[in-house]
Symmetry: C2
Subunit: 630 residues, 2 copies
């Protein structure tokens, strides 16, 4: 049983993940966000969950007073579990004993609501509530277990000797699930996938039977065991068996969670056919259904993927949690196959979806992440939940508030995605100042310190800390966008084309390997089949997608009349990217279709672009990622 | 009390509508559709409403057996009323006695379900059902009354002496509404506007108090009397008072029905401020939130208007019923103000939304009307309702099946929109072969026959039938697109610029006035703020928007790689418009954003374009209205 302190610990695969005890992010972009997460977000989330009664639901269930008075949506238990998972990783990361006590207090309240047979859900099965499992389509009971299991796994792997009882709660619930939905039981699945990856992980940490239950759920999915309730069975991926599907579809969070769990099952059962199907799904989804930000799920209706190349900027849904799900899916494929393309997408999604959601203060969030804001967002209420997909600035809370704890658990465990090992060495996937102390399977010590100001600068310096008599291989990812990168080793400098670059040697303490990534801003053109952004380009710099915000325009003019002068090039001044814009004043007409609309350039100005993840931190503005070309 | 056999009969305004006894469509495009409507659609609709139990709901309500077994959605009563309205117009149009008997039979079943106090709805208030008016947001009770009233008005105006009892049913229900929601009663509105225009019309035909009730509903709207239930109060226009709003927003059908009723109220109460507000709403909606087809409501979520210029082609919702509602709104403004722009939009919407919905056979419908079909539609089931917004070919029925009877009532009453009179003459708004026999207010006879092959040809020939000693004025609309039109009178030929052109004379029997409209295909460019179709053009011919269907491409290639060679011009051959296309073969790439994608033209071919309303009548295909420019 693997108890590496990491969210995903496969028993086989190309790469082995490292635990939070083996790798820490020590500074820079992500350490700053981890600090905000620890000092502001976790408390903010706990406060709102108390205030909204989502934690109190467990007290009421334990006291038998739930009937007719339960707070929140049907899946609110899961938000509490996501918070527990985030707290567990954070305690594992920092040994924060105050946080540990808060964690234990919530676990106690959760555990009190568990029924003798292991069932645990505050929304079903008690007097005045609907019967257990009477609404698999929308009830989210198994989905909630999934997040419970992930919380328990996080705790078991970071504090294996903790006496808080969370693992026991999870195992009793998991046994109940196997009892109820196992062979001969209810032959169906949950409307919201999530229990699948969670059961595998629980199985990896405890007992194989949970993996088998996950495999059963994956095999059942797509066979139409759920009713067609309005949005169609594709909404919850019950339209096509997982191994027959060629692309992600339907609800984007559901699709990614299911895909992640199916990779887990494929890996644990050595099911190469299933893994190949998921690889194809990933490839097609990335090539045809993903925003330049890495965001997935373009449609508001059903929070879902559109058809291929339906990627509107101005109604981009790009749910934050779909970004988290996409990282989960890609990470599992990376561990299984070792290909850098997965880490490329993870990096893109982390910088441009996961980092975009929370405000700088860590106490307000985007649930959706549009790529084009046409009207200045409104300031959401500070003291009430906001609609999840409203066109507002980041909001402190939502009636459906999965993004805050989902971002929190991702940030708290982020170090786990920095590096891996294999039999012969270590692979760096994400670039951040980091401390890495691990051993390869044969006992060779691999100890590195990484220094970098990435993504502000493109130099990544890895210094070997300990001497080891035997050679090993250090591999660094060169992002697909990084044309012209170079690697400097103690011996030489060499070109580092996109993909990976490796150095194998008998490293001595103090040896330095430096990757130089080209960080000049670059212009990206969309596939011509993405009709929504025809005639536009995006500006990117390193892993960051940039955008134009109206607060940077003279007179805070809105962004509808801007045209990028591509010929004028992009410049960097004082760490900001400047673009030359020609601004036109669109004429109002009674009917917007007719003879060609001549555009009179009114002004020509240099305007700074902003990292997309930073937008809307300076008050209401209009914004666009895709800039029409002059 | 006005009993002109027409859907809208204001007591004042710039223009006076004609009744179905005064104007008939005698041939051509619309007569053919009226015939299909009469011979196929009405029976098809009645069959499905019986089959689905929507008419049977009234039997069950009368028998007291509704509890727990009612069929259909909460608004299905209204569909039966829309069918009754369509039948009433059709009986008025053609004196079809067999249809009249079917009409009477349904009226009898409806009437049996009415309660002693006038309440009539099969979904509320009986044992096992929720209480009356306990769900104004979603219950649709007043909405259903609205369609009941419109059916009763249609009957009262076409068969004023009928003894079927429908008017009595409507008046009892209307009295109950006034009793319940009048001054001192429930101070709220219905989540779905519709009762407002219906009450005004019922008032115009019977008693003023119904107009006053409509005025009360219009004034209450926008004051937040409805709960904010998820989609926001803009969804049902309860966000801003009608007289303060500047543009239509929210659910597009609701928005148009409310606007129509508000115009009615403004006209009957001589409320110029309210009328001015609605005029502004119309102008802004047309300039910024309307598709080139006239379609309105661009968003699937909430079937709603988007922000200004959010008009995606590939996810155009453009609900058929929103088109019907837009015609209702525009027609009322036309009667009030006489401006040709309203008839322009009506024409555009009739040809490109209302005519698009039904199949050639009149037994299948589009509920939504996309402007870009990316994957070939599937053939919907013949024996089961389809999802309303599915990407299929036209479907025989939907669980929400408002479009079939809404189109039917529009087609059956279509002659009413052809012409109007004022104190000095007659105005032709829509061009179809027609027989017009009316008198002006002072008794002057105006009798015209219109001959035309419009829109196939651009010549509209109006022949005066009867001699009259006194002069009068014949006014013809020149559509905004018709640059270079000419008018030929008995005396001369003259240019006819867009707007209206008038001839005032002492017409003699046999006098001919001919309008020559230029019908060459033309290229329309979108306002540059409509980001979704940047770099594309649409091709129009007369009032028809054209499209490219893949069934017309070699090998039925899909339409994603086509580029229009604008320089090559458009040609007409054998009545079809030919465009020169360069077809490219888009290359599949792993990541769809990067360096410019060079497009290699693979073929250059002349391809026929199809009238948009005709598309998808030749089996599954991909389609696009907006053609990227080469």
């Amino acid at each position: 049983m693997d108890r590496t302190a990491t969210p995903v610990a496969p028993s086989r695969g190309a790469l082995r993940p490292l635990g939070l005890d083996e790798v820490q992010i020590t500074g820079g972009f992500w350490a700053q966000r981890q600090a905000v997460n620890a000092t502001a977000s976790l408390g903010h989330i706990e406060h709102w969950m108390e205030r909204e009664g989502w934690i109190g639901n467990f007290d009421a269930a334990a006291a038998g007073t739930s009937a007719g008075r339960r707070a929140g949506r049907e899946f609110s238990d899961s938000e509490v579990y996501k918070l527990l998972e985030a707290m567990a990783w954070e305690v594992g990361r920092t040994d924060d004993e105050v946080l540990d006590a808060r964690f234990r207090a919530i676990v106690g309240r959760v555990g009190a609501a568990q029924e003798p047979d292991g069932y645990l859900n505050t929304n079903f099965g008690r007097p005045g509530q609907r019967p257990r499992y009477s609404d698999l389509e929308w009830g989210h009971e198994l989905y909630c277990y999934g997040h419970l299991f992930q919380a328990a796994v996080a705790r078991a792997r970071t504090r294996p000797d903790a006496d808080d009882g969370l693992l026991g709660i999870a195992l009793r619930a998991a046994d109940h699930v196997v009892e109820t939905f196992g062979p001969g039981g209810v032959a169906s699945v949950c409307g919201h996938p999530e229990v699948e990856p969670a059961l595998v992980e629980l199985g990896r940490t405890t007992a194989r039977r949970y993996v088998e239950q996950a495999a059963l759920f994956v095999e059942r999915r797509g066979t139409g065991t759920l009713a067609d309730v309005g949005l169609g069975r594709a909404y919850y991926q019950d339209d096509v068996p997982v191994r027959d599907a060629t692309v992600l579809r339907g609800h984007a969070v559901r699709a990614n969670y299911l895909a992640a769990g199916a990779v887990d099952v494929a890996v644990e059962t050595a099911d190469e056919g299933l893994l190949a199907a998921l690889t194809t799904q990933w490839e097609n989804t990335v090539a045809r259904r993903t925003y330049v930000t890495g965001g997935q799920g373009s449609q508001h209706e059903g929070e879902s993927f559109g058809e291929d190349f339906v990627l509107p900027a101005d109604r981009a849904y790009s749910e934050t949690c779909a970004g988290v799900g996409s990282v989960m899916f890609s990470w599992r494929l990376l561990l299984a196959q070792g290909l850098p393309r997965y880490a490329d997408l993870i990096e893109r999604t982390l910088y441009n979806v996961v980092a975009t959601s929370p405000s700088h203060e860590g106490t307000a969030y985007y649930y959706t992440n549009t790529l084009h804001q046409r009207v200045p967002g409104t300031v959401p209420p500070a003291d009430a939940p906001s609609p999840r997909a409203s066109s507002s600035l980041r909001a402190p809370w939502f009636a459906v508030s999965c993004c805050p704890p989902n971002v929190a658990r991702t940030l708290a465990s982020l170090a786990a995605y920095v590096a891996t090992t294999d039999d012969d060495g270590l692979q760096l996937h994400q670039y951040a100042p980091a401390r890495i102390r691990t051993r390869l399977a044969d006992g060779r010590r691999v100890e590195l310190d990484v220094e970098t100001d990435y993504p502000r600068e493109g130099v990544v310096r890895a210094t070997v800390v300990s001497a080891e008599d035997r050679p090993w291989t250090l591999t660094l990812r060169v992002p697909a966008w990084a044309r012209g990168a170079t690697l400097r080793t103690p011996d030489a400098a060499q070109p580092a084309p996109p993909g990976t670059v490796s150095v194998r040697r008998r490293f001595a303490a103090g040896d330095v390997v430096e990757l130089h990534l080209p960080m000049h801003p670059r212009i990206s053109h969309p596939d011509p089949r993405i009709d929504a952004v025809r005639g536009c380009v995006a500006v990117e710099r390193g892993p960051e997608v940039l955008c134009l915000e109206s607060v940077d325009l003279a007179g805070h003019a809105d962004v509808s009349g801007v045209r990028l002068d591509v010929g004028a090039g992009l410049r960097e001044v004082d760490g900001r990217v400047l673009a030359t814009l020609r601004t036109t004043a669109p004429a109002d007409v009674a009917w917007p279709y007719g003879s060609a609309h001549p555009e009179q350039p009114v002004t020509r100005t240099d305007v700074p672009l902003t990292a997309y993840h930073d937008w809307a931190n300076r008050g209401p503005s209009t914004m666009r990622v895709w800039l029409p070309v002059a």
